[in-house]
Symmetry: C2
Subunit: 340 residues, 2 copies
């Protein structure tokens, strides 16, 4: 699953390397136990940290007046939103390095609809699968809309891009067509594309679910970001379910050319690849942990460091800034990197 | 503006001709005077009529149990939605001819954001235009989301497709790139694509607004639907603003090969092309009436009848069914057709 390279359509040249691809994990930004419920606090914090990481000034950004870009009417508020057009027009620029891509998971959005109908198994001749496809897309695109809004409120010029609508498709669940030209165009013009796991068409199965992790891996292969960050609801990858009091955080994992991986830190688990049941969050069902690690390993093999860490912490802020190295003793998270 | 043909990328063959492209006019489905306010009654009625027009059975569909495809949690309702998976899986099929495309206008969505920032004029180096681009897209895509939901609740397997995300772009406001392959794929697999007027990238101006009317004209040129329907908030095209008590509804307009047009009915205005100030709705600002008529004229010249009529009436239902001819004395609306 992690190995195929999707067929590309002609694409414009990327003008400058992408700095970072960020995964906002479904477990971090939604309340998994409650259908279609956003974890507002975590989402707001992730967006504020992203803005901080993009900021070209040295300050922490807390005192700057933010140019909010969600000018929609707030629910229940009869007044039109206040937009200070004169102040905005007078700004020299956004002061942000916007060369980021955001991909988010579904969490408590889409899962109910997809599992109820079996969209991932395909078969659009079935009325249940067809209806479930529509219902799943409604749910995940409504989450996408809220995430684009949350980023825009933090002054990040975000634009939603749905993989299905962009024509991304699979063949027997493997990515088969993935036109990234509009993503590159958007980056080039200073926008931050916001993609998501989606229900897509499949050449053999009619349809399936394309996970955010596969999207990230493909974009990393294509655009060679400096680093990739996965924000989740635990501190990183553990040797067993993180709810287990004896669970040990794996701080550094090395991936070799053959796709094999070994634990570098902590030293007590060094070289151990069997007998540890790698786990991020027990309730993260999208693709499961194995897929996630596999996709991250493919990225790391390209020489791109992958940081997996907990959203809304000082560690996630450092990861988003790219301010993490294998020597960072005080950084809590998992680094997955190439052995070369 | 109405004449250019956008550059096409390779596309799969359309398996069967599209039956109808429907424009849900912004004036019909939103409350124009109130920012981001949907005209729920008109939207519900338009969706129910669309379902009726798609229905393959002879009945009026009123007694059939509708397979709702919006399985999201309703705001304020703590319970998960009830989805009778067994009943749905047992259905032989949807019983609908889904070979329709829906395009909607923006109405009271997007207009505030676009006009406040001047997105249509371009210039993304300006922070105001960049922020306005983001704000406009948030507003129009939130309307798209609500329209997809309303169609899905009526059992129409609708999928939202944003022109910007699909890579549609312009060159000096003329459509330059318009990849319809995913629209065709969606139709082929039995889904109803739902597009909308959008903020898009422009090769010369950086960005502009692409109107729903231009999208419809392009799709009509490409896919040759049997007929095209514009649903609006008045009965059709008038010889002066419809608020004028002396306004006369133009029932039939003929377009010749050179793009010239003349009034056929009512007979008293026959041949008159000057001295009538053609008007649909005075407050419809997207592109203005002249653009709308020009786009409709381009479609009619291809031999495709265009019906402009009032949403939520018996006349709109007949138009959606394609049950209108130039002999239909009791049909209220405007037919624009080729003189050949």
């Amino acid at each position: 699953m992690a190995e195929e390279v999707a067929q590309e359509q002609p694409r414009p040249t990327a003008p400058r390397p992408v700095r970072c691809i960020v995964k906002l994990g479904g477990a971090a930004i939604t309340n998994k136990g409650e259908l279609e419920s956003i974890n507002e606090e975590n989402l707001r914090s992730a967006c504020a940290q992203l803005r901080h990481a993009m900021s070209e000034s040295d300050g922490d950004g807390a005192t700057e007046k933010v140019l909010g870009m969600d000018w929609s009417r707030k629910p229940g508020d009869p007044a039109d939103p206040a937009v200070d057009a004169e102040w905005i027009a007078g700004m020299a620029g956004l002061g942000l390095d916007t060369n980021f891509i955001v991909v988010h998971g579904a969490g408590s959005f889409g899962h109910f609809q997809a599992s109820r109908s079996g969209v991932h198994k395909g078969g659009l001749h079935s009325t249940l699968v067809k209806a479930g496809f529509v219902a799943t897309r409604i749910s995940v695109t409504s989450l996408n809309q809220e995430i684009v809004r949350a980023l825009a409120r933090e002054g990040i010029p975000s634009v939603g891009m749905s993989p299905f609508a962009c024509g991304w498709s699979t063949q027997q669940r493997k990515l088969a067509s993935a036109n990234a030209s509009q993503i590159i165009q958007s980056l080039h013009t200073g926008f931050v594309p916001v993609l998501h796991g989606d229900a897509v068409l499949d050449e053999l199965l009619d349809c399936t679910i394309l996970s955010g992790d596969v999207i990230i891996r493909h974009l990393a292969q294509l655009l060679s970001p400096r680093y990739v960050v996965f924000l989740t609801d635990v501190h990183g990858v553990y040797d067993r379910p993180p709810t287990d009091p004896n669970a040990v955080l794996l701080k550094e994992i090395e991936v070799d050319d053959n796709g094999g991986w070994s634990i570098v830190k902590p030293a007590l688990l060094q070289g151990n690849t069997k007998g540890v049941e790698i786990s991020v969050a027990a309730h993260d069902t999208t693709g499961g942990m194995e897929t996630k690690i596999l996709e991250a390993a493919v990225i790391a093999r390209l020489g791109i460091d992958v940081y997996i860490t907990k959203a809304g912490t000082e560690h996630s802020l450092r990861a988003l800034k790219g301010d993490v190295s294998t020597d960072s003793e005080d950084w809590l998270g998992t680094i997955i990197r190439s052995s070369k």
